[in-house]
Symmetry: C2
Subunit: 237 residues, 2 copies
Amino acid sequence: MPNPTAAILLIGDEILSGRTQDTNGNYLAKRLTEAGIELCEIRVVSDDNAVIIDAVNALRARYTHVFTSGGIGPTHDDITADAIAAAFSANIDVREDARAILATHYGDPADLNEMRLRMARIPDGATLIDNPVSKAPGFSLGNVHVMAGVPAVFKAMVASLLPTLTGGTPMLSVSVRIEKPEGQLAGVLAEIASDFPQASIGSYPFIHEGVFGSNLVARSTDPALLAVIEAKLLTLR
Amino acid sequence: MPNPTAAILLIGDEILSGRTQDTNGNYLAKRLTEAGIELCEIRVVSDDNAVIIDAVNALRARYTHVFTSGGIGPTHDDITADAIAAAFSANIDVREDARAILATHYGDPADLNEMRLRMARIPDGATLIDNPVSKAPGFSLGNVHVMAGVPAVFKAMVASLLPTLTGGTPMLSVSVRIEKPEGQLAGVLAEIASDFPQASIGSYPFIHEGVFGSNLVARSTDPALLAVIEAKLLTLR
């Protein structure tokens, strides 16, 4: 059976303006690779209701899972939960189970103000995602998993969610660093790639302190095959 | 006249596997904001010919500019130039102007091997993008600007390209850091946002050494308006 597939949808004007360097995408990418879930696409879109709806609907039709990050806090610009509900034509309102989590967290009912209650708005039919850091939950609706943008909270939600998903065969990799320019390696590398069509072999060039080099990376689910390829790649040093 | 719009298309399995944390997107996002070009979307896709063609065609139809990063080196997995040509149904072959740049750079004709010549494959009708770092050029075809993935080369190509594009009114921003949880600020912040619909006002929460706080950011092309909003936001401290 082929591995499940996934997309990550990062929601936030602050990434598109360049103010924030996203790290959630890279964090989740690593976790999905370990879990044998094939990440096929990452998209970053703005805090715009129609844009979010379009992106969610395009991605959820195409991949096994869609993971979103951002826009589920208490402020006026947190519109992700409502946009996801709209994408599914699902009703959304303050839900008692989510409200109870916030009520316990804030203790004093006066602290659970109208804006904070926005974080208990959960679409009908969704399952909550636990947030041990700041309590306000994420949720899964169908194959869409809606999580916070703050990295510490995002990571905690990924840790809550990922064990509940069916993974695949983990994609393994070996990496060989070679301090020669790609142009000197490319011919032999193409032969190796063509000899091992079962693996995916890539060359990732770098320039470090004036030295042109490349990290040669082979990916496969088969560790024995990777060991053979690694030995071949090492001969290029 | 509204500002020009843009998308960034990052091409590379190494980003999707989590092996590489992309930084080119954030770098270009900042430069576009300064240039008054509105970045609306970032996509990361894999090194797959059909996938690249689909993404390029979707994005170039939607935005004023598309900027790509990755996949234009000499190795077998560098397929971006051919995919872009295919997206435009343009012919592609080794082009004399690009070949001459490489020939000058490598000096000894033996060094300009068959694989390196791949970097002189340029679609018909494209304009070269200068690469002062490692010489192999990028190119612009229509509204699609094709650049390298290595950050130092990407930055150099952006520096070559960006002054040739028509910008818009730069989007300015002010940021006010407040060490209070978003939930305490959200009500007043919503009022401020509603009082200044001409600006875009966002709240970007953080958790730093156990303190919950938020950076409140207002964006507008009007510096006088931003000064007024900044004064309002400072009252929330």
